[in-house]
């Protein structure tokens, strides 16, 4: 920004007045300011300046104390905010969704059948499996109804072995 030393007063007045009037106005100002320079105001007393400097020193230490207090409050506020956030975070993770586990799938039909493209052979195998399952089902029903005439525990063991064999044979293909 320009100061008085770089200012052309005549040019400024020319924006509002004819050239001649602008020149006179600029001269009026310069001459009157010369009068002000010739009549300087009194200077502030040395004691006053010393007093001002000591008041400034007091104000500065008060200002520093205020800044320190503000900083302490800010640090305390930030620390409190962090503690609250951590507490909320801990609670959230404690109640959060259970660890996901891959679902367990059980199938009686072995993978080879699913992947096989020989439909007729697979159909025959599935039919055989179905027959065997139906037979076992019938035997279980008979056992429950007591049609075997006793020795249930031995029958159960045999049935269990039979199931194990069927499962083993089936999975072997």
């Amino acid at each position: 920004m320009e100061d008085q030393t770089n200012e052309n007063i005549e040019e400024l007045f020319e924006r509002f007045l004819p050239d001649e009037d602008a020149r006179h106005a600029a001269e009026d100002i310069q001459k009157a300011e010369e009068i002000l320079r010739e009549h300087p105001a009194p200077e502030p007393a040395g004691e006053l300046l010393a007093d001002i400097n000591s008041k400034i020193a007091e104000a500065l230490s008060a200002e520093k104390a205020k800044t320190r207090k503000l900083t302490a409050y800010r640090v305390a506020a930030v620390a409190a905010a962090i503690i609250i956030l951590v507490a909320i975070g801990v609670r959230f993770f404690e109640k959060g969704p259970a660890e996901t586990q891959s679902p367990v799938t059980i199938t009686l039909i072995r993978q080879a059948i699913w992947e096989s493209e020989d439909i007729s052979a697979d159909q025959a195998e599935l039919a055989l499996l179905t027959d065997e399952l139906e037979q076992i089902e019938g035997e279980i029903l008979a056992l429950r109804l007591g049609e075997d005439g006793g020795e249930s525990s031995r029958e159960f063991i045999e049935l269990e072995m039979e199931l194990t064999d069927i499962g083993g044979d089936f999975w072997k293909g």
Binding site: M1, I9, I35, L48, I52
Partner: protein, 177 residues
């Protein structure tokens, strides 16, 4: 250029709360600010108080100076302090209406009760209206350009030019008359 760099260094020191920088600031500007207060109040005691108030205020306010012309910024603060003083004086005179004449003699009639010798300029300045006197003093003591003064006073530059010109012309006539 070196002067500007020196001023920048002093301002930076003041912003950092350095008492020595403030002391340099006082040395640089106390005379001009005091002259402004004295020419507008005509009273040394009041000018002493206003000058003290100014530098204490600068301790709080210096952080808000964001560059540009420091002197324009400084004299805006100076001018605000003077206006605060006028407002306070007005309130005081309203509250203490019974003692109005006494208060006015102490604060609002520049020079009349001042124990200092009143120079001719002060007497003639008092014949100008308050606003013209103020803008002339602002121009003289801040050393700001007309453009800067117009900005400080939030008025068109033509208004500032016209007011200063008419005021100074009248002052010259009074001084030479």
């Amino acid at each position: 250029m070196a002067e500007r760099e020196n001023l920048d260094r002093i301002i930076a020191g003041c912003k950092n709360g350095d008492a020595e920088s403030f002391s340099q600031m006082v040395d640089m500007y106390a005379g001009r600010c005091y002259g402004y207060f004295y020419r507008l109040t005509g009273n040394r005691a009041v000018s002493d108080d206003l000058l003290s108030e100014l530098f204490i205020k600068l301790v709080e306010k210096i952080g808000s100076f964001k560059g540009g012309s420091f002197e324009s910024w400084l004299f805006k603060v100076v001018s605000n302090i003077f206006h605060d003083y006028l407002r306070a004086k007005h309130r005081r005179s309203q509250l203490l209406d019974a003692q109005k004449s006494q208060l006015q003699s102490q604060t609002s009639e520049p020079g009349q009760s001042d124990s200092d010798a009143i120079d001719k300029l002060q007497l003639q300045l008092n014949k100008l209206d308050a606003d013209t006197r103020e803008v002339i003093m602002l121009r003289y003591y801040s050393r700001a350009s007309f453009r800067e003064i117009a900005q400080m006073r939030s008025e068109p530059i033509g208004t500032t030019l016209s007011r200063v010109h008419r005021g100074l012309k009248k002052l010259r006539e009074l001084m030479e008359g």
